[in-house]
Symmetry: C2
Subunit: 280 residues, 2 copies
């Protein structure tokens, strides 16, 4: 497991809890974090060097921020066992595939792009827990080049964490996630930033109700990670952001012109869609 | 209690639980809902006619949608006891004060505008519970005309529910709430509506993660109520909405121009502000 944070740590915990691993080796930039992961019983041992970490491994999972993928890939190339399967947990799949292509000069048959649809606004191995992926989806986006046996092994690994497996095209994955994950994060960050810049910010935040807490929860997510995601998924994100801005402009116009009908229709449409999605 | 829904019902339950009321009389448009409230033990009895409902009452609390305030006020005028205190639970205060001024030709000394900062995305008396206001704030916006004894009685009532009392100017209340409550609701409704209009809406919603659920929770709120709030608080809402749109335009430009620094700075600023607000 390269990158032992919330996702990598939770995966390691889940696999150990399921008893499907002989040994989990952690790797990462910060030794203090790796020591902590070992002390917490998340990993058996660690290596600082990615090349050494993957030697002899039969499964390599990259759980680093998207901006760090390419560097790690170049450092593990040449150290992998012949039958090692390589997969990742990145929130954008197009850029990871591109990084793999660049680092290996072609996409190896044993590389399986993957994305567990799970997480919290917390970061780091301390926030990791074995049940994070239970009943969540893991999207695999195998390519033409991908060996079905490799996909099968990644599938089996994630199923051991309690997750359900879904297959999808790379491009479709990046569009769907731009809409339901990347855009909401961008909006939450942007709203909190907007209010924080207002003169009476403390006064404003003091009277925030419960809805504000939930609405802005994702704005406590790791800024570097979300910077990487937005940059890596620029095109699909800009496209859905434009759709949103057009609708918001319509709402602002309606409000400006006292056109209550448009507001009511929009709010009603949204409520129906959300209530259908979550029957709570 | 005129309007026995989530707010009115929870207030009635809390006051009865605290044992500070001889009798709670409910009033509202739908008899089925009033019967239900009586069956649930939320109110002692009900009246369909607002004029009859307030006769002999020493405290009248208007918990109806903002769009219904004026009509109710005209129907209770002339039926109030001389020492009856009238207050409300509306999410916008300027419009309620205006409605009162119109209905009574002046703001009576025994009228106290108020706003409990509490609620859920649910509606109706079934969703009400006595603890809704515990440790939440209730903002009072007394006017020059307001008798301090009337303010004191409304204060005492809300304290019995476990709430804390804050005093504020009407205009300031409406600006602060536009930023932390009305704008987030508008954005959540707008986002869900935007995605619901996309061709592959079911496909899109299917892969929504936990963050999306929290982010869009407020989009399950009552559309009519939020229509009323947005229209009633049009000017302050348009102002903060414009600030937000300007910042979002900046972010879109930054993303377009691959200016990662601006994204990172915005996300970092937002995370710091939110983490300061909620030390969870």
């Amino acid at each position: 497991v390269i990158g032992v944070g919330l996702i990598g740590g939770s995966l390691a915990r889940a696999l150990r809890a399921a008893g499907v691993c002989d040994e989990v080796i952690g790797c990462g930039r910060g030794e203090a974090n790796l020591k902590r992961a070992q002390d917490l019983g998340v990993i058996d041992r660690y290596e600082r060097d990615p090349g050494r970490a993957v030697e002899g491994a039969d499964m390599v999972v990259l759980c680093v921020p998207l901006g760090a993928m390419y560097g790690i890939l170049t450092r593990i190339a040449g150290h992998l066992s012949a039958d090692a399967v390589v997969t990742d947990a990145g929130s954008v799949k197009g850029c990871v595939v591109e990084d793999v292509r660049r680092a290996f000069n072609a996409v190896p048959a044993n590389f399986v792009p993957a994305h567990p649809i799970a997480g919290t606004e917390k970061s780091g191995v301390e926030a990791s827990f074995a049940e994070l992926f239970r009943d969540h989806m893991v999207i695999l986006t195998p390519l033409r080049e991908t060996a079905s046996e490799a996909s099968q092994r990644v599938s089996t690994m994630w199923k051991a964490t309690g997750a359900r497996i879904v297959n999808m095209e790379v491009e479709h994955h990046d569009q769907v996630l731009a809409a339901t994950s990347h855009l909401p994060h961008l909006l939450a960050f942007s709203l909190v930033d907007t209010l924080a810049r207002m003169g009476d910010r403390e006064e404003i935040f003091r009277y925030a109700a419960g809805g504000f807490r939930d609405f802005t929860r994702v704005a406590s997510s790791d800024p570097q990670m979300w910077h990487d995601i937005c940059v890596a998924n620029r095109e699909p994100l800009l496209e859905v952001l434009q759709r949103f801005r057009d609708r918001l402009d319509d709402l602002a116009d309606a409000l400006n012109q006292n056109d209550g009908g448009t507001l009511l229709q929009t709010f009603g449409n949204a409520k129906r869609a959300r209530d259908t999605l979550y029957q709570e």
